[in-house]
């Protein structure tokens, strides 16, 4: 009984609703404990300040006066959570696999690296211009019934459907579905 419970929490993949409930509860819990909105992408500004020479830039200076703010700890926690999850589930650790992309394409490592780096640039730049990402807009914002977040999420999804289908048809052979 207890073994079965441990197995289903730490080893088996969760059903969608279990993850949804925990992620959804973060929104009221973070307000209740810290009066703070759930959000991840703004913390990348802290990382820019830590890693790149950017302290002279107005946006960094005005928005990130506290370099090691709670946002950096939140980011660290998410990394730690992923590590605990995969370790307890007995995953092999470091892997150069990225699902169908690396399985289908067999590109050299540098090609894959450039591809994912480029995707990351769009995510980082787009999230800032949009004023938030999946957590800040799509979960926190919509849970607070904010029109701006509903609009942003619609555009997130349109962009995602467009890019994923273009990649599927041009690179991955269009064989899905």
């Amino acid at each position: 009984m207890i073994t079965a419970f441990i197995q289903s929490v730490f080893v088996e993949p969760w059903p969608f609703w279990a993850g949804g409930i925990i992620i959804g509860l973060l929104v009221p819990l973070l307000y209740y404990f810290y009066n703070t909105a759930l959000g991840v992408s703004t913390g990348y500004g802290n990382l820019v300040k830590i890693i790149l020479p950017s302290r002279h830039l107005k946006w960094i200076k005005s928005k990130f006066s506290e370099t090691w703010s709670w946002r950096v700890y939140f980011i660290g926690g998410i990394i730690l959570g992923g590590f605990i999850s995969s370790t307890l589930a007995g995953s092999p650790g470091l892997t150069a696999e990225m699902g169908r992309f690396t399985n289908t394409l067999q590109w050299p490592a540098l090609g894959n690296g450039v591809y994912f780096f480029a995707g990351g640039i769009l995510l980082g730049l787009g999230a800032r211009i949009a004023r938030g990402c999946t957590s800040g807009h799509s979960i926190h914002g919509i849970a607070n019934l904010h029109i701006s977040s509903i609009l942003a999420t619609i555009l997130f999804v349109i962009g995602g459907i467009t890019a994923a289908n273009i990649i599927r048809i041009t690179l991955l052979g269009g064989s899905w579905l």
Binding site: I21, Y73, T95, G99, L122, I129, A130, A152
Partner: protein, 138 residues
Amino acid sequence: MNKKLGFLGFGTLFGFALSRVGASEYDLIVGMFVGEDYTLVGVIVTAIIVGTIGMQVLKKSKQRTISGEPLNISYKKLGPWSLLGAAIFGLGWGISGACPGTVLAQLGEGKLYGFFTFAGMIFGTYIYARLKEKHESL
């Protein structure tokens, strides 16, 4: 509770949940966009429903935080370019099969190409900071 330690803990719970439910899998994110697998749509919709109910309970019953402060709900006001930015973000989401939260779970899981997405995100944020220098409305 110390705010930074608290966020380390809540972040760990968030990353653990993202990873257990498969949100850090390239195939599930791209699969959602090409209509192959709607697991993550279920996760997001459940999270929105639970978050909405939780916020309504908090707003109606307490209206205050644990330390007695009035709730300060953050409204993310869009700028003139924000919907374009959201579309750019969406393209990045569909290309990389990750978003700013799930890429962090990928890092913890040891997915090496997640490091490239992550580095790109930092660089993309840096580009924003540089652009913002001259274009205040961004």
